[in-house]
């Protein structure tokens, strides 16, 4: 199994040459090994090993920022040349330098030395997953298990050289009963935390419970969004609106709302880069990460900045750079986002609960308007599931919804880079198919 430390000589060579050709340079290297097994109904149909290697080079000369990426160590000179050529074309901007090295006082916990990406371990997990899904009518349609180990490195011409090791284990299951489907997954850093039993039971419950689903009349109703459903709207609409680039470029709904009460007073939204499976001590610029409060007391406190956007607009970086930009360059994102609001028994009063949303990515990302199909939705009351709903649409505006939250549940769930509770929203418009 390979590690970024196998390539430190190469990184030094790249930086040594880059010093002669640019004011500053940075090398980011990521390598990983994964093994994944894919279920075809109850049996494993595919076993795959994935070995990745990618190096991104960024150069800065007189405020011209260039970037390039390669999957081949042998092409590092082409990559460096392309990065410098890229910088010549991009418009110059205010630039205060790449970061200097710092010492980190806290550790993160996203590496499990006992997690080895091997097919036998994955096979055992598949057996657990399938066994736990046996006690119902629904059948397994698909799913799988993936085990991974990766390492990344950032180094720059100011002497930064940080490495980061992480492991991951994930399991998913899709089940079907007639035309009722259920889907659940889990994703963790430590193998022992992977709960295949819970994944199987929830997928089974959904497929079986919604087998008898019926219609619903169009109505205005309180709606409870599970963390899975809520993450689709938060990730697609709210987070882009909090990006410093979006704000200063004039395409954020929240651009003029910093310091202005514009959300429910109980809403809290922050990024804690030390708590979650996306935990990291340094961001994609090599800047030390820190807690970033986006929303507190219903007021926008801060927007997210990477180094580039911060320099351009006279702000301070918030350590929010992630590797998602073109050519492997940093862009603004979040590491471990947390959302909370006033705790309440969100399933007590009558409402419609939705486990997922179909088509959330089609929302208007600027205005916050959306109109989506509900997935595995049901009427709830007294903490109990009532009539399952086969098909209904939910329309609303996320920014309006966040001004008046009915409550948030006690349990939290990590979905990708977000940790969210169930949240109850007031009086939303549902379009049903029942006359």
């Amino acid at each position: 199994m390979h590690n970024v430390t196998d390539y430190t000589d190469l990184v030094e060579t790249v930086l040594a040459k880059a010093r002669h050709e640019a004011d500053e340079a940075e090398v980011y290297l990521g390598v990983s090994d994964h093994v994944s097994l894919e279920l075809r109904r109850r049996q494993v149909g595919e076993a795959e090993k994935t070995v990745t290697w990618a190096m991104a080079i960024r150069t800065i000369t007189d405020g011209h920022i260039g970037a390039s990426m390669t999957m081949s160590p042998a092409r590092w000179e082409d990559c460096l040349t392309a990065a410098i050529a890229s910088g010549r074309i991009s418009d110059p901007q205010a630039w205060g330098g790449l970061p200097e090295p710092v010492t980190f006082s806290r550790d993160i916990d996203v590496y499990d030395p006992s997690l080895i990406p091997d097919a036998d371990t994955a096979s055992d997990l598949i057996t657990s997953l399938c066994t736990a899904a046996e006690n119902g009518e629904a059948e397994i349609a698909g799913g799988g298990v993936s085990l991974g180990r990766g390492s990344s490195l950032i180094a720059n011409t100011n002497g930064v050289l940080y490495t980061h090791d992480a492991t991951s284990a994930s399991a998913s299951l899709e089940m079907i009963n007639g035309t009722s489907t259920g889907y659940e997954f889990d994703h963790v850093s430590h193998l022992n935390d992977l709960d295949t039993d819970k994944v199987a039971k929830e997928a089974l419950f959904q497929a079986d419970y919604w087998a008898g689903a019926g219609g619903i009349e169009s109505c205005a109703s309180d709606v409870v969004l599970t963390p899975m459903a809520l993450s689709q709207l938060v990730g697609g609409i709210l987070m882009p609106a909090l990006s410093g680039r979006t704000v200063h470029a004039g395409r954020s709904f929240l651009a003029d709302k910093k310091g202005v009460p514009c959300m429910d007073p109980s809403l809290v939204l922050y990024d804690d880069p030390y708590d979650g499976s996306g935990a990291t001590r340094w961001d994609a610029d090599g800047v030390a990460t820190r807690r970033l409060d986006f929303i507190r007391d219903g007021t926008v406190q801060s927007f997210a900045y990477d180094l580039r956007t911060a320099y351009r607009y006279g702000e301070t970086t918030t350590g929010s750079a992630v590797r998602s930009g073109a050519g492997g360059a940093p862009a603004i994102g979040v590491h471990c986002l947390k959302l909370d609001a006033r705790r309440d028994e969100v399933r007590e009063e009558k409402a419609v609960l939705a486990n997922g949303l179909i088509g959330a990515h089609t929302a208007n990302t600027i205005t916050g308007d959306f109109s989506v199909e509900l997935s595995n939705a049901a009427c709830i009351e007294g903490g109990e599931f009532g009539a399952p709903i086969r098909s209904a649409m939910l329309s609303g505006n996320l920014f309006d919804m966040l001004t008046d939250i009915a409550g948030a549940g006690e349990e939290r769930r990590e979905i990708g880079s977000m940790t969210l509770p169930e949240v109850r929203f007031k009086n939303l418009h549902i379009i049903g198919t029942q006359e």
Binding site: E46, K49, V51, M71, G250, R251, G325, V372, S375
Partner: protein
């Protein structure tokens, strides 16, 4: 117990260059190139597939390839499903001719051309403009243990322009994009920048859509997405095989109104074109629905052997991901209704235009897609503009509700996501009339 030698193996290697340009509010944010070199090696053991995906494959050589085959074979031992492969036609189509090769246009010139589109969108009332260009070129090499070997050049390029209009704290956006396999397609396209900007301004005055069940006319782009989401995914052989397609076991049945014929054709010189599929099978036009009757599923070699009732040559993969059954160029065939007849047939309802994408749960048989904008229709006349309007429905009932198909089919390029992979596709259709459509909007 696995055999010592694989029953079958293949390798698919992609090596090439991607180019990106990003211009926002007149500033060139990024313009550069990156280099890809990745491969997937598959081996079929006694039961199922073992696969190894490797970056930096160019340096692996023949010994690296055989080592990957051995590793894939070893991995296959944990599989339980006995995979069979259907016999298929092989062969590679010539890649359509390129009108202007973007590789021969400098990055500086491409940046200038894109900049002219972005500038054109900066008209009064517009608060943000963002133009992007992407180009991917390279060589695909495929070889399998049956003695087939193909190598072809792949080249795709395209641009998008987003304009955001703002007034009194309100904002609306509109987007235009074009992607092609026939070379550089963004010269003299300033009007696309202006179109996006003007539509964004118009949307500021558009009313939110009123939700409910009504007749809906879908324009060519949206009807194409409808065909893709509502029936295309459900016809994919892997979903049929796994039991998560609502149209499994319905070959030969009337599943749509008889005006409906839906085709997937990877041979068309559109954005979803494939000279050969990702497992070396020859590609061919496949009629999914003919005159409302379900005729074929889309297949890979594996799903054709397991399910039957369809055509292989529809396996696709993004980069070194494992090939899965995908659409390519999917469209509703022209009917015989004029636009006046469609408006008259609608009488009262809504005309939906443009697409912000869609999604389907093929097992449940429910889909959703979103229009960029629309117009109310009253007594067959087009009235005021509406925004943020989507449409959802049950696949099986909705297909019977396609009442009329126009004669003006148009193809629109885009990308489709499935199983974590994104591949280029084209969707197309004429204008269609959908009766009793469930339209989502913020007001009842």
């Amino acid at each position: 117990m696995a055999t010592e030698e694989p029953r079958y193996y293949d390798v698919r290697h992609l090596a090439g260059t991607s180019t990106h340009i990003d211009i926002e509010n007149g500033t060139i944010e990024a313009a550069g190139q990156s280099f890809a070199d990745t491969a997937i090696v598959r081996a079929l053991g006694a039961t199922g597939w073992g696969m190894v995906a490797i970056d930096n494959f160019s340096e692996a050589g023949q010994s690296g390839l055989m080592q990957a085959v051995a590793e894939a074979l070893s991995l296959s031992k944990v599989t339980g499903e006995r995979v069979e492969l259907a016999d298929v036609k092989t062969g590679v189509l010539p890649v359509p001719a390129i009108k202007e090769d973007p590789r021969e246009v400098s990055l500086e010139e491409k940046t200038e051309i894109l900049s002219s589109i972005e500038s054109a969108a900066r008209i009064p009332g517009i608060v943000n403009t963002r133009a992007r260009y992407i180009e991917s070129e390279g060589t695909v090499w495929f070889m399998n243990s049956s003695g087939n070997e193909y190598r072809y050049e792949s080249l795709r390029s395209g641009y998008s322009i987003l304009a955001v209009a703002g007034r009194g704290g309100e904002m609306q956006m509109a987007r235009e994009s074009e992607h092609a396999i026939t070379g550089l397609n963004m010269r003299h396209k300033e009007e696309k920048g202006r179109e996006a900007a003007e539509r964004a301004l118009l949307l500021l005055d558009a009313a939110p859509a009123r939700g409910g069940t009504m007749n809906a006319i879908l324009d060519q782009e949206l009807a194409g997405v409808f065909a893709h989401e509502a029936i295309g995914h459900a016809s994919e052989g892997d979903l049929v095989k796994e039991g998560v397609s609502v149209i499994k076991g319905m070959i030969g049945q009337q599943i749509a109104n008889n005006v409906v014929t839906i085709v997937d054709d990877p041979t068309l010189p559109e954005f979803g074109f494939m000279p050969v599929d990702a497992e070396g099978s020859a590609v061919t036009r496949t009629e999914i629905i003919r005159d409302g009757v379900l005729k074929n599923y889309l297949h890979s070699r594996e799903t054709l052997a397991a399910v039957g009732d369809g055509v292989a040559g529809h396996a696709r993969a993004e980069g070194s991901s494992s090939p899965i059954v995908r659409m390519s160029n999917t469209f509703i065939e022209n009917g015989d209704s004029t636009m006046d007849e469609i408006l008259e047939g609608c009488k009262n309802g809504i005309l939906l235009k443009g697409s912000r994408g869609g999604q389907v749960d093929p097992g449940r048989g429910v889909f959703q897609f979103n229009a960029e904008y629309g117009y109310l229709i009253q007594n067959g006349e087009k009235l005021g503009m509406v925004r943020d309007v989507s449409l959802s429905g049950d696949i099986l009932s909705t297909m019977h509700n396609i009442a009329l198909c126009g004669t003006d089919r148009k193809m629109t390029p885009g990308y489709c996501g499935k199983g974590g992979q994104s591949v280029p596709v084209t969707d197309g259709a004429p204008h269609i009339l959908l009766r009793n459509a469930v339209v989502g909007g913020r007001h009842a």
